[in-house]
Symmetry: C2
Subunit: 337 residues, 2 copies
Amino acid sequence: MSVTAPALGHGRELVDPALRKAISRLDADTRLIASYHLGWCAPDGRATSAPAGKAIRPSLVLMAGEAVGAEPGDLVAGAVAVELVHNFSLVHDDLMDRDTERRHRPTVWSVWGDAMAVLVGDALLSLAHEVLDDSGSSYAVVASRALNVATRELISGQVLDVAFEQRDDVTLAECLDMAAGKTGALLGVSAELGAILAGAPPATVAAFRRYGQEVGLAFQLIDDLLGIWGWPERTGKPVFSDLRSRKKTMPVVWAVQCGGAPGRELARWLAGSEEPDEHALQHAADLVELAGARAWAEREAQDRVEGALAALRGLGLDPIRRDELAALARFVVERDL
Amino acid sequence: MSVTAPALGHGRELVDPALRKAISRLDADTRLIASYHLGWCAPDGRATSAPAGKAIRPSLVLMAGEAVGAEPGDLVAGAVAVELVHNFSLVHDDLMDRDTERRHRPTVWSVWGDAMAVLVGDALLSLAHEVLDDSGSSYAVVASRALNVATRELISGQVLDVAFEQRDDVTLAECLDMAAGKTGALLGVSAELGAILAGAPPATVAAFRRYGQEVGLAFQLIDDLLGIWGWPERTGKPVFSDLRSRKKTMPVVWAVQCGGAPGRELARWLAGSEEPDEHALQHAADLVELAGARAWAEREAQDRVEGALAALRGLGLDPIRRDELAALARFVVERDL
């Protein structure tokens, strides 16, 4: 089944101007670099129209909040804040991973150097709090607290990711924790912020957080598969990109732990250090598949989508809104497979 | 006149446990590295008693808040938040400047690598907001907004600092702006947060911010002088450290712009690129002095202290509290000269 995502980009006509207004608060140098990173201009400041991101996080804030009765205008600050936190983490991630390209364009550190990448990321994180605190919402403090916790979890996930590079004994549980932090936390808080800013009761807020966290894990599982088999023309992600760096993604760790003889062979290959050629990479990808890890990850992603939908049951949501949220969850899994 | 700073370390018995409690929220890896950075443990986690910092920012929060009638307990979250923001910026600064030592100990990036330095800094910034939002103060949102603005100014100051490295035409006004951001903003918001958390009226809050900003500029002017003439045994700052990297500090920029023939000779030396020997550094320092920039910076720092004291006049503060705040401002200037 091919799923389009009608609700992605939802509210963009409100969120984009608010995001631009937030960015305009930054000093001139930081503003230029942030605008470049967001795809609004070339490195010299000339306006461009780089393809916009999917803005899944802002969409989630709006969809969740509207599902429990908020007006879009009450939700925009939350949508802008999560998009800023997401982009803070992208700018710092690209630097930490020494990635030279993002969406077919040079990354911030590769154009402006390490120091500016550190500072621009810092500025975006700080700006996220500024936007939320200045929203005038009577739920601003509760929203800000939720964003703080999610940001801490996001950073913890990155810390685990860095630590895993030095370790040969990463367990699947640790790997799932890492993904829950790296991807689940921010999608979780996106849905959560929508509910908070709508003034929903705590149980509803928790249900939306759970929905977002499950969608996030499904998203990361699919992303990990794309990191092995890629889909350059659709996602810009080259084939074997994560294998090339011997990254301990969820399917790889599952294969090593649960995948019998192919898993053991994969573990030996991961422990090596020679630069792999295309043949070796193809063989490693085959081992992941033979171990059953591709099928496991696809099934696990489906289960997470089911978990996301289950979290929303019993909340008495309008069926149209609930279907939109369900379609978004399914889109994440089926987008690129 | 030698000035001790009786009020520095004021409230430490309240702030230190709260700071440790905040740090304990972090995941294990981040917590270890943050604890090391704060001087609480060795890189392997063994408790140490590295000399504590002066904690000038937390002291300012407490002194300002108590001067307008708050109980110390109402101010602790603000004190912890500014100390966390300060340390976020130190961890990222050391990385950006590739400084290998801080207070005679290896810096975070030099022990744990670039990625962990980025992440630990990020975690400390996020934690600052978490502490303030969780304070339960009815002034939490106002305090958080003030901290946001100051953090943005702090980052802007750093951005200018990075940009200046590539430029030969930095004006004194730009240089003062940079210092106002890099040092003034955080000392300003420290005093401001004290007043905010005490529930002081806006005019009083603004006066305290001004006091802190002026103290901050005085502090930076003295720091710039120490960056030229140093005082290794007291500050850990080696002689000529800023000259060695041809850093465009305030006295250097003043000398170039306003310092006649010695200033012009200094400008030519700054434009060079050969590795300077001790003789060349001594000569450059002599040029700064001959240009009158040492005297200018000392006078300017004194003027800033006067400005700080002027900001507090007319607020009807208890004379003992006002004298404490005056002593702190004077201490900053006279600490090391």
